[in-house]
């Protein structure tokens, strides 16, 4: 905080923080305000554009001249958009729930159980973080083809579940829990599964909430894998649907913007509600 304070504490050493927020603080405030407005402006422009008529869509005025809901009703009735939204919802929810379950099981074992090769397994799991999805896109596609689940929900969902990031964060969280909580249960004769189910899972709620939001966002926003693995439009997820729609209706920006707004609103909503949790989970992912 005092990084900006160059003036020696001549005034009020009792409440230095208050004194410092004066002139420099307001300059910062103004700069931050301008930058923040610039940062969200394109999103506002999308929103504004989604209410415009085709004649008005390129107008530089901030608000639509004749606001209309027609674009929304068009993409929701004339295009298979509700279907795309439903597909995305199904995929994102299933992946999130299953991933949280599997990752917390693995993380519990890695944090709490003793078995030979534990550290090696953890390092191996961790090192898969370096292998990002697009790099293995081609072989993954061939494996999914071999498994016979191309162009199916399973093909979209199953490979999306496995990601070391969640295991890593959950393990960090479990390492920080006091051992006494489980020891009491074990002394009482609980098996490991009971300990996990009755003690660990209920304690995981806060970290689950943060991860659930991150997983949901990632899968709702996923594009490349769903596009590659599906061919039938019945299985299109919302991002694939929007990209395809825009290519087919390149001139109809009002429709594309409405579709974009529909797909972005849930994610922005989640962000507004869970902002604090998201921020915390990103900070802890900084491997402090």
């Amino acid at each position: 905080m005092p990084a900006t304070d160059t003036s020696p504490a001549a005034d009020a050493p009792v409440r230095p923080a208050r004194a410092r927020t004066t002139r420099r603080g307001w300059v910062r405030f103004a700069v931050a305000l301008v930058l923040a407005v610039a940062a969200v402006f394109p999103l506002g422009w999308m929103l504004s554009g989604s209410f415009r008529t085709p004649d008005d869509v390129f107008s530089p005025s901030l608000l639509p001249a004749h606001p209309t809901l027609h674009n929304f009703s068009y993409v929701l009735t004339q295009v298979a958009f509700p279907r795309y939204l439903l597909n995305s919802l199904i995929v994102a929810v299933v992946v999130t729930v299953v991933a949280l379950f599997f990752h917390s099981m693995a993380a519990y074992a890695l944090a709490r159980l003793r078995f030979p090769g534990r550290d090696t397994i953890f390092v191996l799991i961790f090192s898969t973080l370096l292998i990002t999805f697009p790099v293995i896109l081609v072989p993954l596609f061939l494996i999914v083809h071999t498994l016979g689940i191309l162009d199916s929900y399973a093909g979209i969902i199953i490979p999306s579940i496995f990601n070391a990031f969640g295991i890593f964060l959950l393990r960090q969280f479990y390492l920080s829990l006091p051992r006494e909580l489980e020891e009491a249960a074990i002394v009482d004769g609980c098996g490991y599964w009971r300990v996990y189910w009755k003690v660990i899972l209920p304690l995981s709620r806060p970290v689950f909430a943060a991860l659930a939001v991150l997983f949901f966002l990632a899968n709702w926003n996923a594009f490349l894998w769903p596009m590659v693995v599906t061919t039938s439009t019945d299985l299109s997820l919302v991002q694939v649907g929007i990209a395809a729609f825009q290519q087919q209706h390149a001139a109809d920006w009002n429709f594309s913007l409405a579709a974009s707004t529909i797909s972005a609103l849930p994610t922005l909503g989640l962000f507004v509600i869970f902002q604090r949790r998201i921020v915390e989970s990103i900070k802890t992912s900084g491997f402090k």
């Binding site: 603080g25 693995a106 799991i125 962000f271």
Partner: protein, 317 residues
């Protein structure tokens, strides 16, 4: 232990039962661990480990559709380095990273320094900088394609208002890549800002207080306190941002430019996608994929060695 088999009968019996009980508990723990780990370990092996190996192996094959695999040795690699489009995309990717990574680093650090202090609405500002990050790259790409549209796009109109005539932002091979870079920085800055903020919070306040009493200015404090103590965070950000920028963002390019104009935004990762899923060249695409993994390994190991794993000052302490 049981082999000793000497001593009083009762004592031996007791120790034997204790041993078996301990052993059985230990093996129970191992079995439980195995079961807890099984889904994720099998999944990661099948959907990350195996593809990784397949990627390397497939790089030595010519693949025709789904049936024909012909071993061709290093031909894919020879082809790579004779392929002007691949070499072009390699050059583009390098140029892109050399501008993007430092740019993203500076912008997100500057934002973190700007809003680290408590001032009114600071949470709201933080949210505003991060907001683009929760939106899909497809939508991000569409918004900017719309704003940069020739003649009628918002950016063109605004510049025109000030009497500045715009070039074709996405249609000009010399500009399109920098538009992608700018949009990527705008998209990603909030995320890296948060990680920088976490790093800044770890620096003890007292250091600044002492420095202030000693009369150190803003720049001196940054130079001698913030920058050195932020090095582990910087290391982390350099490593992760390079990995994600080198291998991500296909969605953005797909929507904004489709690799064009004149291949000017065809980054390697996009080129891989195109070779595999537009031209069906799975073997060739895998060879390029393996090449990227090798680059990433060299980069990570190199950065790790250079910075001693992010703990820069160990040697001096």
């Amino acid at each position: 232990m049981t082999g000793l088999a000497v001593g009083e009968r009762s004592a031996r019996g007791a120790s034997a039962t204790r041993t078996t009980r301990r052993l059985s508990r230990r093996s129970r723990e191992r079995i439980a661990a195995g079961l807890f780990l099984a889904p994720d370990v099998l999944g990661l092996a099948l959907f990350v480990g195996v593809p990784m190996v397949v990627c390397i192996v497939l790089g030595f094959f010519q693949v025709d559709g789904f049936g024909g695999y012909t071993f061709i040795g290093l031909d894919n690699y020879r082809r790579m380095f004779a392929d002007p489009l691949f070499l072009g995309s390699l050059k583009t990717t390098l140029l892109y990273l050399v501008v993007l990574i430092p740019g993203l680093f500076v912008v997100s650090l500057a934002l973190a320094l700007l809003i680290r202090q408590k001032f009114p609405l600071v949470g709201l500002f933080r949210g505003a900088f991060f907001a683009p990050n929760v939106i899909s790259l497809v939508v991000i790409g569409l918004i900017w394609k719309f704003m940069l549209t020739d003649q009628s796009g918002f950016v063109v109109r605004v510049l025109g208002f000030f009497g500045i005539s715009s070039p074709s932002w996405l249609g000009n091979p010399h500009l399109a890549l920098w538009m992608v870079v700018a949009v990527t920085i705008w998209f990603a800055m909030g995320y890296y800002m948060l990680i920088f903020l976490a790093g800044l919070q770890d620096i003890p306040r007292e250091y600044y207080e002492v420095a202030t009493i000693d009369g150190a200015g803003v720049w001196q404090q940054f130079r001698h306190i913030t920058w050195p103590l932020l090095k582990p965070t910087s290391f982390f950000i350099l490593l992760t941002s390079t990995v994600s920028m080198l291998t991500g963002g296909i969605d953005l390019i797909y929507v904004m430019t489709s690799g064009g104009p004149a291949n000017s935004t065809s980054l390697i990762i996009y080129y891989i996608y195109e070779q595999a899923f537009v031209y069906g060249e799975y073997g060739y695409a895998s060879a390029i994929g393996a090449f990227i993994v090798a680059i990433l390994l060299v980069w990570s190991v190199g950065l790790f060695a250079l910075t001693r794993g992010g703990r820069f000052n160990d040697a001096r302490d």
